[in-house]
Symmetry: C2
Subunit: 414 residues, 2 copies
C-alpha cells in the first residue's frame, strides 16, 4: 500500500479524492499497489464527509510523514504551493499537480530538484484538463523533432468566441453568459486577457524545446478587443477568430511564441473546436500533424489526469520518468516585434478612395475583404507576411493620413 496526500480540497482536489475512492479497485490494478489517501490539507473544515478524518491544517504532517510517498498539489497559485512542492521534493516525495501557474513560473527549478532527488514531478493536468497532452509530447513524440505546437488552450475564451461567431453575441454579453454558466470567474482577467493560455503554451514550449520559457517572455493578448465586425470579416475571409497559443522554432533557432487572437481557416482542425473544448495541434517532423481534442477543464476531467499522474508515480517509485527541461532565458525567444506574419487590418476613414490607394501603397499585396452591412467609412484587408515592426510603422503612416486603425489580428498558418 502506498500512502498519498492531497493538498487542497477545492474543485480539483475534491475531484481527486472522489476519483481515488470511486475507482479504488481499477486503480490498484493499474498501479499494482493499493493507494491510500492519508492526508488532505486544507485550511477550511469539511465536517460530515465520509473522509473527514483525513483532513489536516498542518503541512508539516505531510512533510514529516515518511510513509507519504506521493503528494498531489491541487491548491493553485504560486504561494504557498511553490514552497510546499519544493519541500516535498527535497524530502524525497514525488509531487503531481494541476497548477499551471506554478509549473509555468517555477517548472525548471522544481524539475531540477526532482531530478537530483530521483523523484517525479508530473503535471499532466496543468494543460488540457483531461486531454492527455504532456505524456504524448514527452513520450510518444520522443522520436520526433517538434516543429510547432498550437492550440486553443482556454475553454472560457473559446466559449465566448463561439457565442460571438455562432450567435452574434457581443463580447460583453457572451462573457456575462459564461459567468452565469460558471465557465468564467467573477474576475475573468486570467482567462480573457490570455494569461491562462500563456501559462499553458509556456509549459508546452518548455517541454517541446527543453528550456524553460517564462510567461513574461511571451507576447500575450486576450480577446477583450475582438468585435462582431472582426468576426464578420473573418467569416467572409473564410475562417473564424480563435485565441491561439502557439510556439514554433524559427530557422535562426529562436522561438516564435505568442498568445493572441488569430484568423484560422475553416479547413483547419482547430477551426471546428468550439464551446468550452480545447484542441491542441502538435506538428512533428515524423508524425506530421497530430491533434488532441477534449474538455480542457472541469472537476472530473482534471482530477482524472491528476490521478493518472499519481498512478504513474506509484509505478515509478524507483525509476524516474523522463520529464525535464533546463532553465531558460530571454535569448530563446524572438522579440515579438521581429516576428513575421500576415495580418488582418480594419480601418475607418472619411475618404475611402484615398484610403484604398494609401493602403495599397503601404501594403502592395493587400487583399481587401468585405462584409454585408458595413458602414460607409469602413475598410478591411489582409496583408502578406510582414514583421510586427513593419506592420506598426505602416499603421502609424495610415493614422497620419487620417485612417484610423480599429483592429489588427494575426493570420495563422495553421
Amino acid at each position: 500500500m502506498v500512502q498519498v496526500a492531497v493538498m487542497g480540497h477545492g474543485v480539483v482536489g475534491s475531484g481527486v479524492v472522489e476519483v481515488l475512492l470511486n475507482h479504488c479497485d481499477s486503480i490498484a490494478k493499474r498501479a499494482k499497489e493499493e493507494i491510500n489517501i492519508k492526508y488532505i490539507l486544507d485550511i477550511r473544515d469539511f465536517p460530515g464527509l465520509e473522509y473527514s478524518d483525513k483532513f489536516t491544517k498542518s503541512f508539516d504532517d505531510i512533510l514529516n510523514d515518511e510513509e507519504v510517498r506521493v503528494v498531489a498539489e491541487v491548491m493553485g497559485g504560486v504561494h504557498p504551493a511553490y514552497e510546499f512542492t519544493k519541500s516535498c521534493l527535497l524530502a524525497g516525495k514525488s509531487v503531481v499537480t494541476s497548477n499551471k501557474e506554478l509549473v509555468a513560473t517555477k517548472g525548471a527549478e522544481l524539475l531540477e530538484i526532482a531530478k537530483e532527488k530521483n523523484v517525479n514531478y508530473l503535471f499532466e493536468a496543468s494543460v488540457g484538463g483531461g486531454i492527455p497532452i504532456i505524456r504524448p509530447i514527452s513520450q510518444c513524440l520522443a522520436a520526433n523533432e517538434v516543429i510547432e505546437v498550437a492550440g486553443i488552450l482556454n475553454g472560457t475564451t473559446n466559449f465566448i468566441l463561439t457565442k460571438m461567431i455562432k450567435d452574434h453575441m457581443s463580447f460583453e454579453d457572451a462573457l456575462k453568459m459564461a459567468q452565469e454558466l460558471g465557465y468564467a470567474e467573477r474576475n475573468p482577467a486570467a482567462d480573457v486577457e490570455g494569461h491562462d493560455a500563456c501559462r499553458k503554451i509556456c509549459i508546452l514550449a518548455s517541454l517541446s524545446y527543453g528550456k524553460h520559457i517564462y510567461p513574461e517572455l511571451v507576447h500575450t493578448q486576450g480577446i477583450t478587443k475582438i468585435t462582431l465586425e472582426d468576426v464578420a470579416y473573418a467569416s467572409s475571409w473564410g475562417g473564424v477568430i480563435k485565441l491561439i497559443g502557439q510556439v514554433k522554432k524559427l530557422d535562426d533557432g529562436t522561438l516564435d511564441i505568442s498568445v493572441e487572437p488569430m484568423f484560422i481557416e475553416n479547413g483547419s482542425q482547430l477551426a471546428s473546436v468550439d464551446d468550452v473544448f480545447n484542441g491542441i495541434l502538435v506538428r512533428g517532423d515524423a508524425t506530421g500533424d497530430v491533434v488532441f481534442y477534449g474538455k480542457g477543464a472541469g472537476k472530473l476531467p482534471t482530477a482524472s489526469a491528476v490521478v493518472a499522474d499519481i498512478i504513474d508515480c506509484v509505478k515509478h517509485l524507483k525509476a524516474r520518468k523522463y520529464l525535464y527541461w533546463a532553465d531558460g532565458d530571454a535569448s530563446l525567444v524572438k522579440p515579438y516585434e521581429k516576428t513575421e506574419y500576415p495580418v488582418y487590418i480594419r480601418v475607418e476613414t472619411a475618404d475611402k478612395k484615398a484610403a484604398s490607394e494609401k493602403i495599397l501603397a503601404l501594403f502592395p499585396n493587400a487583399r481587401f475583404i468585405v462584409r454585408s452591412d458595413a458602414p460607409e467609412n469602413e475598410l478591411a484587408f489582409v496583408t502578406e507576411s510582414l514583421t510586427v515592426d513593419d506592420q506598426s510603422k505602416a499603421a502609424a503612416e495610415l493614422e497620419k493620413n487620417g485612417i484610423t486603425v480599429k483592429s489588427k489580428i494575426r493570420i495563422s498558418d495553421l
Copy 2:
C-alpha cells in the same frame, strides 16, 4: 548502450532504422542510454546502404544474442512474426511492433508470456500510426471507466469516402485514384472490406475492457456497397458516411462492437476527419470525450511510434509497463443480430404510395428523407432504434411486398 534488432526492412522497418539513426542524440537523451541497431532481419539483400553490414537472414542470430534486449517486429502478417515474437519474449527480450494483425489475433497469449518473463510487449504503432492512442488509453485514462471507443481507423477507406462525398466520385473511381496515389494496395480487400479497421478496434477494445476480443467475433462490413445515392441521402439527413470501428459496454455487461459504414452527424468531431486522416474518440466517465486526430499510416509516423516504444522498453528494462489483457471468448460480445440502433434504409418500388404506407406500418416512427434528382421509384427513410433482427424481419416483409431494399446503413449516436 542497449542493443536492439529490427525484424523486417519494408516500409516501416526502413523507417525505424532511419529514425533511430537520424535522431540518435535526442533519442539517447530520452532513453538515458545509447541505442544501437545490432541486427536487421530480412530475407532480401540490401547492398549499398550505410548500414548494410547489419543485415542477417537468420532469426537465430537475434534470438541467441544475449546482448539484444529489445526487438522491433515490423514484418507484418501472423507467420512467422508470431513464432519470432514468442521466441524473443520467452528468451527475455522485449518486443515492440506495428503488426496489428498479430496483436489482434495473438495479443492475449503474447502479453501473458511478456508478463511471465517480466519483459514488455508494446504496440503503439499498431493503431493510428503516429497518433498516440495506446498509451493515452492505458495510462492517462487509468482513472476512467471507458464508456465507448469509436474511430475512423483506416485511412484508405476514409480517403475513398471523402472523394465520394466531396467530389462525387464513384467508389470504383475513388478506389482507383487511391491505388494510383499509393494509398490503397493492388488487392485492397483488407482495407475496403473493413478487416484492417476490425483488427484495430479489437486492439482498442481489448485494452479498454481488459479481455481479448478476437476479430472473428466482430461484425465487419466494408464500404464496397456504398453508393453516391447513399452519400446524397446522408447529406440531406445532415451528415456524412464514415467507416467506423466502435465498441461500447452495454448495460448487461456485453460489448456492442462492430466495423461498418455509419451515418455521422455533421456536428460530430469525427465527421470532419477527412482524406487519409484517422480520428479516434475515447469516451471516459471522468474525461468525457477526448479525440485524437492525425495521419493513421505512413512510413515515418508509424516508424516514430515504433521508436517511441523502443525508447520506452529501454527505459523499462527492469520495471515492466502495465499493458495487459486476459484471454477472452465469444460471451463478451453481444451477438450482432441482438444489437440495437437506428438505421437508414433506401428502397426501390413501383408503387410509392403503397410502399410509403407499408414502411410506416412496419416502422411507425420512420422519417422519410429526400434528395434532389432522385428517380421516381426511390424512397429513403431513417428508423428509430431497432435490433438488427427486427430490422431484417421488417426488410424481408418489404421485399415480400415488392419493395426492394437497396441500402441499409447504421446511424451512429456519436
